[in-house]
């Protein structure tokens, strides 16, 4: 199978994730879209590793997973707090930090 197909899939997933971040209001969905983008890039890393025949991309993918796990913890905690105080998880309503 042509390894380029994995890259195409990765690009499609990344675009879906990016659109999700930009278009959705629910913080959980935005968060999930971010995860989708991370995993899209992971897929691209692994594919590149396969194409070039070395392990650099795979190592990088592990790093991204570890960071993503940590980020999930922090991000979910923030979303929990926002939901508790405002009874809503809409990112558009959490707009106090402005000019």
């Amino acid at each position: 199978m042509n390894p380029m197909n994995y890259l195409y899939l990765s690009a499609v997933l990344f675009t879906i994730g990016a659109l999700g971040v930009l278009l959705r209001r629910n913080a959980i969905v935005v968060f999930m879209s971010v995860e989708l983008m991370l995993n899209a890039s992971n897929l691209a890393f692994v594919s590149f590793a396969d194409i070039h025949g070395n392990l650099d991309g795979q190592v990088m993918a592990f790093f991204v997973m570890v960071v993503a796990a940590a980020e999930v913890v922090v991000g979910l905690a923030i979303i929990m707090i926002i939901f508790r105080t405002r009874r809503s998880a809409s990112v558009d309503e959490a707009n106090l930090l402005k000019y």
Partner: protein, 644 residues
């Protein structure tokens, strides 16, 4: 001006033979320390020193005088070439090869000044005990007087120009404090400020001279500068000489910095006698004579000194002839007499000795007359207008006699002291330059006119007293010192002048060449005496025989100009003050509008821009995410395009 070209070499020699202080000369520092201690105790001690403060002041001045006499006796015991003594006290400025230690130089020149300052100073301290007895601030007065004596001694004893500058500023400070002693009188406060400011102008000259010395010689000590003067270029010597002259002009009230001295008469009369007649104002003469090695080598600088001295000599005499205020008339006379000394100092080796000789004699007779004027004021409720004096000889006999001796001395009537000192200056001036000679000769005539006018208006003629005054003789504590000064005015010239003692005494320091006037000295003496008789005669007829109007008549053009100090203040105001004011006003405008405008404008622009920029912070996370995405896309696009 060739006569002294041969003498130059002999001038530089003696100053290299300076020996370190030993034996009795180890006491030199006490000269300064005693009055300085007195000043410290009186000024820091506060009110608890009030009851005995004035006596402490007198004691310290007298102690300093006693030390001076001991040192003088010690110096007489030494050979002529061993009389330059240096006392090193401590390191002060010591950087690389540059050193300016606190060291004192006691030689014949500084010894002369030390004796004059401490001697006349002590007499004036004693006089002040009586003169200031009713002043609640008498202790402060004596504190300042002691401070002055200490500074003046430091000035004349310093072994380098930097330390001399410290003393120079010290006497300037003391002069400021004492002119403004009655600071609650606005005229006194203004006069003090004026003296301070004008003196600063002169001080710039002295500091420039010191800097030039450092650049030229790499040293500011007397040894380093004066002994190497011959090695320096003509132009640097000339510039140093001119800068020194500017310094001397400021301190000695010489044209064009003469305007402060007349106003300085706002101070108490003992101050006028000590600082503004006998000692401080002669510091300029000291400076020039001390720097003789420089002036010997620069004819331009010497000529400038002669011209300045000559101009001031005539100006002071003219101003003195028109003033009705007894102290201001004396101040004009002081200016004129210092003009004589400066002129003599500009004559070179032929004149240095006579400049100092006249300085000492002037110190005696002018202090005598100032203290006499103080005695008159004491008896006349502090009035100074001579048009309301007249016939005071009947009620103030001692003052009349002592003042009369001073009057004869300044006129130059033999055998009083002025005759010997002034005639020698006229002789020396004629032997260098005929114009300078005629100026000094003419000055003698005008001197006779204004001093006789002053004397006649005060002590002779008819009573013109205001109704509320009851003139009386001053107490012995005031008249005692005046009598001593009168005695010195009468005999000191005869004792030191014709005997040649003074010339032999100073010659090793300043060098000396016998004046060679084109005519016999006797002819000059007789000419001067004739002029003096004419001047005095005119004044006597006008102001003693004929009635003196109690209100000053309008007078002719010259009189009106002289009353206005020959428009010295007007010129200063027109040339310096008003343009200065316009300049500062313009600078304030420039600062407010242009400098501040630029700064404030920049701040306002940035503030406005950031106000706009702030609007980008909408608070919507998704728009931030969009800009991040856009930015990332842009970066990626650029990378791709550049790669391709």
């Amino acid at each position: 001006m060739s006569p002294f070209s041969g003498a130059v070499a002999s001038v530089a020699e003696p100053s290299s033979a300076v020996s370190e202080a030993s034996g009795v000369f180890g006491l030199t520092w006490l000269l300064i320390a005693l009055p300085l201690l007195g000043a410290a105790v009186l000024l820091l001690g506060g009110r608890r020193t009030n009851p005995w403060g004035h006596w402490l002041g007198v004691l310290m001045a007298a102690g300093s005088f006693a030390v001076a006499v001991v040192l003088f006796a010690g110096m007489l015991g030494l050979g002529e070439e061993e009389r330059s003594i240096r006392q090193f006290l401590f390191d002060w400025v010591f950087v690389g090869t540059f050193e300016a230690p606190v060291a004192l130089r006691l030689d014949q020149l500084s010894m002369t000044f030390v004796l004059l300052i401490t001697g006349v100073g002590t007499l004036i301290h004693i006089y002040s005990v009586g003169y200031m007895s009713h002043d609640p601030d008498r202790r402060r007065f004596f504190g300042y007087l002691n401070l002055f004596v200490a500074s003046m001694l430091l000035l004349v004893l310093a072994d380098n120009y930097l330390l001399l500058y410290v003393g120079w500023e010290g006497v300037g400070l003391a002069s400021y404090l004492l002119i403004g002693f009655w600071y609650y009188k606005s005229s006194a406060a203004v006069a003090a400020k004026k003296a301070f400011v004008v003196n600063r102008v002169g001080d710039v000259g002295l500091s420039l001279a010191i800097m030039l010395m450092f650049v030229t010689f790499g040293s500011v000590t007397f040894e380093g500068v004066l002994d190497n003067a011959a090695a320096a270029s003509d132009s640097s010597l000339t510039w140093i000489g001119l800068a020194l002259l500017l310094g001397a002009a400021g301190k000695s009230a010489q044209f064009p910095l003469q305007s402060w001295l007349l106003d300085a008469m706002e101070g108490p009369t003992p101050v006028s006698a000590l600082i503004h007649a006998a000692t401080m104002v002669t510091a300029g003469v000291y400076l020039i004579v001390r720097s003789a090695d420089i002036f010997n080598l620069s004819e331009t600088a010497r000529t400038a000194v002669i011209v300045i001295g000559g101009i001031t000599l005539v100006m002071g005499a003219i101003i003195g002839s028109a003033k009705d205020d007894i102290k201001k008339a004396l101040a004009g006379s002081t200016m004129s007499q210092i003009g004589y000394m400066i002129l003599a100092a500009g004559l070179g080796t032929v004149g240095y000795v006579f400049a100092i000789f006249h300085l000492v004699m002037h110190g005696f007779f002018k202090a005598d007359m100032f203290l006499g004027a103080g005695s008159v004021m004491h008896g006349m409720n502090d009035q100074v207008n001579m048009r309301r004096f007249g016939l005071l000889r009947t009620v103030m006999v001692t003052t009349w006699i002592t003042f009369g001796i001073g009057w004869l001395a300044i006129l130059g009537v033999p055998p009083f002291s002025g005759f010997f000192s002034k005639d020698k200056i006229i002789e020396a001036a004629f032997s260098v330059n005929a114009v300078a000679g005629w100026v000094t000769l003419l000055g003698a005539g005008i001197t006779a006119f204004y001093m006789t006018r002053l004397f006649a208006m005060t002590f002779h003629g008819k009573k013109r007293w205001t109704d509320d005054v009851h003139p009386h003789e001053s107490p012995w504590i005031m008249m005692g010192p005046v009598a001593v000064l009168a005695l010195l005015s009468a005999v000191a010239g005869l004792a030191l002048g014709p005997t040649g003692l003074f010339e032999r005494w100073l010659e090793p320091v300043t060098g000396f060449t016998e004046p060679t006037p084109p005519v016999a000295p006797a002819v000059i003496s007789i000419a001067a005496l004739v002029l003096v008789l004419i001047g005095a005669g005119i004044a006597w007829v006008t102001y003693a025989r004929n009635p003196v109007p109690e209100v000053a008549p309008a007078g002719n053009l010259l009189t009106r100009a002289a009353r206005a100090d020959l428009y010295g203040d007007a010129v200063n105001e027109a040339v310096f003050m008003r343009p200065g004011q316009y300049l500062t006003r313009w600078l304030v405008w420039f600062d407010n509008r242009v400098v501040d405008g630029a700064v404030n404008g920049t701040a306002a622009t940035i503030g406005g821009l950031s106000g706009r920029l702030r609007r980008l912070q909408t608070g919507f996370t998704r728009s931030y995410a969009l800009s991040m995405l856009g930015g990332a896309a842009l970066v990626a696009a650029v990378l791709v395009l550049v790669r391709l």
